[in-house]
């Protein structure tokens, strides 16, 4: 107990930061893919698919991430499924992110004006062609800001993975703090590291938005 912040502590924090990055990549990669499927399912012409995906989204959105993580790690173990902390955290985060991104993206798809669908339909494009060539390119533009906002949130939310024994950035800070009792220095470092992870994403999204700034919707009466 006590002592001063040294290189080993920083190394330990750095190791935690790597896990935060790793978990974020898994969450956003897996969740992004699954979320895309959920978004498409939510606007599916088949009622049963829409319903099933809606139930999934409601279920996950109504459950705190901490609980999902807990159930994924300890809950499944209680019924005989032993997942490693990485698998449990990765799967839980993926499930969680998929529900939210799916819902965000559904909203973006649906916010593309309905006449755009009709115009594409009138040109004899198939449903897939309408989605891929007309609707999604417009939906992506609308989706960029909320998606980035959510990504930044997820990076910070990976700290909850400490519940399954992950020593990510936040938990590593807690551990260091409990051996040094220097909360201001340690949490300042952690804040800077989180910022360093999140800021480039926000910056990139701004650039992306500028680049895609072309072609806004005309607001002629429908």
């Amino acid at each position: 107990m006590g002592g001063h912040l040294n290189f080993n502590h920083l190394l330990f924090l750095g190791h935690g930061a790597l896990w935060t990055i790793g978990l974020s990549l898994i969450a956003l990669g897996g969740g992004g893919l699954a979320g895309f499927v959920i978004a498409l399912a939510r606007v599916s012409p088949l009622k049963s698919v829409r319903l099933l995906s809606a139930v999934y989204v409601q279920l996950i959105q109504g459950t705190p991430l901490l609980v999902i993580l807990f159930l994924g790690y300890f809950g499944l173990a209680a019924v005989g499924f032993q997942l490693s902390p990485l698998a449990a955290a990765g799967a839980s985060l993926t499930l969680y992110v998929a529900a939210y991104l799916g819902e965000i993206w559904r909203g973006c798809i649906e916010s593309v004006p309905k006449p755009q669908w009709e115009a594409a339909e009138g040109l004899a494009l198939s449903r897939t062609q309408r989605m891929m060539k007309v609707i999604l390119p417009q939906a992506i533009r609308i989706a960029t800001p909320p998606t980035v906002g959510f990504m930044v949130q997820i990076i910070k939310n990976t700290s909850l993975a400490s519940v399954v024994g992950f020593v990510e950035l936040m938990r590593s800070g807690q551990i260091v703090n409990n051996s040094l009792f220097e909360p201001f220095a340690i949490y300042a470092i952690i804040a800077v590291v989180y910022f360093a992870m999140c800021y480039p994403i926000s910056l990139y999204s701004q650039r992306l938005e500028r680049r895609m700034g072309r072609g806004k919707f005309n607001l002629a009466p429908a």
Binding site: G3, L46, L52, V79, V163, G165, I175, N177, N178, F181
Partner: protein, 264 residues
């Protein structure tokens, strides 16, 4: 669609299968000995029992107890990273074999896990700013007492409804100490070691133990229904109380000795 439904059904079926058909499971002691490895659930953020030293190696009284046990039994030791709240789930779900992590023996916990005999005790006090005139519980009226959330100190103080205490709950001991160091609270409920730590951090605010809160028995926690492991643990604890090793470890980190009957 159909596939998803099928998958769902398959998953539930598998779960059920594993629940019911799990063979008369191997005795935990046997599997530990067979693996030549013991997995111990220890929170490494509750000083001075579990913490990190300057080179980020695990240290603390619980850490040394765990190391001693592994060495005596000729086993490799693996610490299972845990927080206070997940110590018990870790052993219940087989993620860890035993808990050595300032686990106080309480009736509620005894409903879900088994406890070994005590291997140490934890003396908790109400510590206040040295200059404060606090002699008994009545003097604490209208004062805010800081505790670490979910600890046995928290539970004990919360149950003292008649004392009209104001309790401020912090995430962990380090945060509670920060609150005391920075003047947000003038009293804390924690171990004597932590109380002394406050003055080290801020010589302008020296704290001292004012009222003894409780003495908790600390025991090794394990899954229910493992009599052979329990017996071996109790034998090991008795032996190391007798030879004074447990007392020595305790004194090294807590600065005080165990109760007289545990000094060997």
């Amino acid at each position: 669609m159909k596939n998803r439904k099928f998958l769902g059904a398959a998953v539930s079926a598998c779960c059920l299968f594993m629940l019911t058909v799990q063979p008369a499971r191997a005795d935990l002691l046997d599997s530990i000995m067979q693996a030549k490895k013991i997995r111990i659930s220890t929170d490494l953020a509750i000083p001075p029992s579990g913490m990190m030293d300057g080179s980020m190696k695990a240290t603390g009284s619980d850490v040394e107890v765990a190391q001693l046990l592994a060495k005596d039994w000729g086993l490799e030791l693996e610490f299972i990273q845990t927080t206070g709240a997940t110590r018990i789930p870790n052993v219940l779900t087989g993620k860890a074999d035993i808990i050595i992590s300032t686990l106080s023996v309480t009736a509620e916990r005894a409903k879900v896990i088994d406890f070994s005999n005590r291997y140490a005790t934890l003396q908790s006090d109400i510590g206040c700013l040295k200059s404060l005139n606090v002699k008994d519980w009545a003097d604490l009226k209208d004062k805010t007492v800081g505790v670490a959330r979910g600890t046995t100190q928290d539970t004990t103080l919360s149950n003292m409804k008649d004392k009209e205490l104001k309790i401020a709950r912090y995430d962990d001991d380090a945060t509670e100490v920060t609150a005391a160091v920075s003047g947000q609270v003038d009293c804390v409920g924690t171990s004597a070691t932590i109380i002394n730590q406050i003055g080290v951090k801020n010589p302008a605010r020296i704290f001292e133990s004012k009222i003894p809160l409780a003495t908790f028995d600390l025991a090794v926690g394990l899954k229910k229904g493992e009599p052979r492991l329990m017996e071996k643990l109790n034998g090991w604890i008795a032996e190391n109380i007798k030879n004074g090793k447990l007392n020595a470890i305790y004194k090294k980190f807590h600065g005080v000795e165990l109760p007289a009957d545990m000094r060997g």
